[in-house]
Subunit: 243 residues, 4 copies
Amino acid sequence: MASDTSSDALVSSSDPKHPANHICSLCKQFYTFGWVTGTGGGVSIRNGKHIFIAPSGVEKELMQPENIFVMDFDTKEYLRRPLALKPSACTPLFLASYTLRGAGCCIHTHSQWAVLVTLICDAGLQGSNKDVFSIKEIEQIKGISRGGTGSTEIAEGGRKLGNLGYFDTLHIPIIENTAHEEDLKDTLEEAIRKWPECAAVLVKRHGVYVWGKDVTQAKTQAESLDWLFQLAVEMHKLGFKWT
Amino acid sequence: MASDTSSDALVSSSDPKHPANHICSLCKQFYTFGWVTGTGGGVSIRNGKHIFIAPSGVEKELMQPENIFVMDFDTKEYLRRPLALKPSACTPLFLASYTLRGAGCCIHTHSQWAVLVTLICDAGLQGSNKDVFSIKEIEQIKGISRGGTGSTEIAEGGRKLGNLGYFDTLHIPIIENTAHEEDLKDTLEEAIRKWPECAAVLVKRHGVYVWGKDVTQAKTQAESLDWLFQLAVEMHKLGFKWT
Amino acid sequence: MASDTSSDALVSSSDPKHPANHICSLCKQFYTFGWVTGTGGGVSIRNGKHIFIAPSGVEKELMQPENIFVMDFDTKEYLRRPLALKPSACTPLFLASYTLRGAGCCIHTHSQWAVLVTLICDAGLQGSNKDVFSIKEIEQIKGISRGGTGSTEIAEGGRKLGNLGYFDTLHIPIIENTAHEEDLKDTLEEAIRKWPECAAVLVKRHGVYVWGKDVTQAKTQAESLDWLFQLAVEMHKLGFKWT
Amino acid sequence: MASDTSSDALVSSSDPKHPANHICSLCKQFYTFGWVTGTGGGVSIRNGKHIFIAPSGVEKELMQPENIFVMDFDTKEYLRRPLALKPSACTPLFLASYTLRGAGCCIHTHSQWAVLVTLICDAGLQGSNKDVFSIKEIEQIKGISRGGTGSTEIAEGGRKLGNLGYFDTLHIPIIENTAHEEDLKDTLEEAIRKWPECAAVLVKRHGVYVWGKDVTQAKTQAESLDWLFQLAVEMHKLGFKWT
């Protein structure tokens, strides 16, 4: 369904926490972190049956609520599709977090630390397992939730109650990048299923997808993970092992 | 005592220097420093018999005065305990600085530089003493007060008059991290007693606790120490010794 | 033509996207990126037959619309020349992007990452070709347009439709610096002709010139390139190859 | 002369460029650069016979115009001395730039890049001359003025017309640090006399003093130098020579 006057109501609100406004303020903030440089990265929020998604190829820090796409979660049809803008190629990846984990928000960053971590893992410089980033005994991993398994997979953001402990090992799977972002869908879903506790998936030479049951959990996990990726790169430079 | 209308007065003030307001503005600032990323870290201010403490697990940069816990210094009972929020696991550590040093403010950061310094010390790469960070002949150490000893231990923030000199050596003890933050209490208190002049305690792979007689001293010492931790990491990368 | 009252109209507008206002807001932003430190760097926007150019030697973050020079694209005469200010030495370089590529905006930064990349290339540390920076298989290169060739050279910003793909190799030519910035004109034009798809030219030990069909493309490409330069330096430090 | 009501007029103005206001806004900005962390660093402006100086030991980013000291240039007596504040220990150093170079503004930073550069020089890692930082063939050195010599020593900021060229070598002398900042006076004056073209003096393991004929020149030179110090450290890490 194309954008028209009636669909404007989906993104018009004076509440700063309305998803259309919230995505814009988050993108402004993430721009200062270097997460959405040069139109890269993206953010999506699920509100009941409505999926709100930042468009592709726009300056994320300048985005306005009227630029936001809205999709119906059940039919996967666009309820609002701003003319002249392209839907985000990340859409199938955001949907994977909603479908497989019951997430309420998904953040995709082009953080340099994420990219560097995938390079270090891929070269086998921190361990033999090249397709997963692992780190332990760093207090900040307590900022990451335990994820969900088995039957609880899609309840409450698909994650077990509570967060990782200091002596737990954090694992974030790494998938290969593809020519087209939407083609990451299958391997991303496979990684989510293979690592039922993961809170994020790294994409080699590309960035990271992080989700949470709501905006707060997605954002704070994205922050904690980025902090850990940066620390991991610095640890590697100084000759320290991650696990 | 649970939060109720009467306890709201404890955190309601139009004065930006009121502890409940001050903690919020400090946390906003510290967020930009990477000290309280992803709900990490914390701040506490003592105002006479009232201890004001930021809650656990909230986005520190978005915190509001009504989120602040207030504890009675004598009874250690909560005078105000916001429903739906958890008290900070740092509380026993903050109290240690008030009790053993007569501090008026205590800041806990998850600075990456602090964590990296503990890793370098632990590996014995800058000296044989693994449980203390030491540095000397850097002008910035003049930003750190001399600390207090013996009978003056709890007077005026528990610190001797005046700051360290350029030719003094700054020592910050390092304690092991524990699974639960509150379990740091005993070793932190032991470190404070063992190093009567220290202005802070580093926690391995975790961060740092810094205090001062008032907010200004705690904040400026936290800044100077973080500056020194960062410099120390860079010095180490370049092959320079800290002492 | 010297500045007079009649020429003030060329830079007076309440529209934040008017070129005179836009250059000022871009420079304020670029100052925070370290791109125009200490009066370095510059920005120019072409609006039809009018070329707007930031002056030389002023604090870019404090610049006001009345400080902007305006040149006629056809005659290369100044329509507005603020008294007491010097025209930018970058002017012939900006004009090259307008003439040879039909660009609508050109950004010159003194980014440290750009300078370091030219040093690494010049030393032959990442490949035998010292006069071009090349990188591939990094998602962020998809933020750079394909450039234009042959007969389409000056149409639509002089660039082919669409952006580079993940498996394409990004090439940015590097030219030698000269004593006087305006003397870069010939080699910069030569580089633009030799690399018909390039979106930018690096200047050794100096910085980078980036253009685009409009402000948005120039700015987002400048951001993506700077992101890539920084990543490239970090990759080099960690021992990774760019191609 | 102690602070009293009559001296308040010296620092009261609604003009943001009044020295008392300007010092405060500069310090707020420099705080974000890490130049005045933890009360470190300082700024002074000379306005005719009045020297305006930031006080010692205060949070520079929170400073107010009423905190500023004012000294008479001829008599070196304080015209305004805020009670409860200490005059800056940098005062004799600021005065040296005014007396020997006719400067109009002097900035003292505790930049980490400045400190690291002095460590690299002192270890003789970039050349045999340990008491001067030298760099050449970097475009940004064109942001530094040529300095003054002989009979023009105190005219127009004590500096020759024009700035350094790309093929010139920038030299910044380095002096030993002392236990008390005011004791730097003799060696700083000696360095200024020995290097008649220098725009700044580095202090080993401490920071840098940068001056200019006015605030704009002092600030832009401080920025360009800090940019160069940072680049120099990165060049050193990557194995490049500065000259």
